[in-house]
Symmetry: C2
Subunit: 203 residues, 2 copies
């Protein structure tokens, strides 16, 4: 059913606003707009203010380029972290996911995206030059590339590898293989092949 | 995976804002907040303004209680519409859905909800008294109840029926039965039973 004849221009504008969000269609957008009517005015103003304030005042860490409220983020300024290891990730979500594992104590480098010819994102749109500068200081001993296991991830990994080939730094990438808890028979064959190639010595 | 340790308070507040929306979990909220960073500042300000403006300036038609930018909505002020027929609906979405059918030329009455003891919504929270006043003017010849085919819809229909029983007005409800295009064998038995009870004479 086509829902497009709004009884109010204000309603239509609110629906259009929600409709700009990824994954939110016009029907859901209408439901969200009407949800706002059932909230107190102050709550709706807070909602709107939080979002525009975030967009207007967002800052990025001068060192790792992660989102940060301070010029240097909490992780980069934490002296207990291992400054010789850099983990290269695509986005803030990836930093949060790795931090949640509580297994990594080095620093990060947030690329701000991934090389993607399809989406028109080239190396110049990412913080790759800044990564090279960090490595050039000589403090970094290992760069772990924690990028998605996709063609774009592969391209980005390859490009960064070439940029860093003349530095005395160990380059690693996160392992790919069977998920923990996953049944072997349901693992796709490319993943399974890679998990055999990258088998780990147990003795 | 638990994602709750945000690298920035501003980011956290934006995520919390999106997380207040129905059907938006924390992970989607984070994705929406980061989406905002890729939009121009002006677009994000427009997004926020459209929503708070809608909440602050929303008006309801004085006659049918639908959302409207004017004191009397376009439908109620349209002299070509049949003023003797009222269609009682729960919400603005229902008005839009019925208008989209292009089959109804009467007026509406928007209840603003449905009687729902589970959600603590009683008759006093709806515009039922205003409906009775409209019927009491004598201009209305038929009240069509276009409410959901649920227990709450049934309760509301029954309550309104009682309120209007002393008026000289025809009370009808929309038909329930097999959906157009639906196969008989997949129709649930209550709907099928009702479609037989309310069978339509063809000769």
């Amino acid at each position: 059913m086509i829902v497009n004849d709004y009884p109010s221009r204000l309603l239509e504008q609110a629906v259009e606003a929600f409709n700009t969000l990824p994954g939110i269609g016009r029907r859901t957008a209408l439901r969200l707009a009407l949800h706002m009517l059932r909230q107190p005015e102050g709550a709706v103003r807070n909602f709107a203010d939080s979002i525009s304030k975030f967009r207007e005042e967002v800052k990025y860490c001068r060192i790792c380029h992660n989102i940060s409220d301070t010029e240097i983020c909490e992780i980069c300024s934490d002296q207990r972290r291992d400054r010789s290891t850099l983990c290269v990730v695509q986005s803030v979500q990836d930093v949060m996911a790795i931090e949640n594992t509580q297994q990594y104590r080095g620093l990060y480098h947030v690329l701000g995206g991934i090389i993607s010819p399809m989406d028109g994102i080239g190396p110049g749109d990412l913080t790759i030059e800044q990564l090279v500068e960090r490595v050039a200081t000589g403090e970094v001993k290992e760069v772990i590339m924690a990028l998605s296991s996709t063609t774009d991830g592969e391209t980005t990994r390859f490009f960064i590898g070439r940029k860093l080939e003349n530095f005395d730094v160990k380059l690693t990438t996160i392992a790919s293989g069977i998920s923990v808890g996953e049944e072997l028979e349901y693992t796709d064959e490319i993943t399974l092949a890679r998990s055999i190639l990258n088998r780990i010595n147990l003795n």
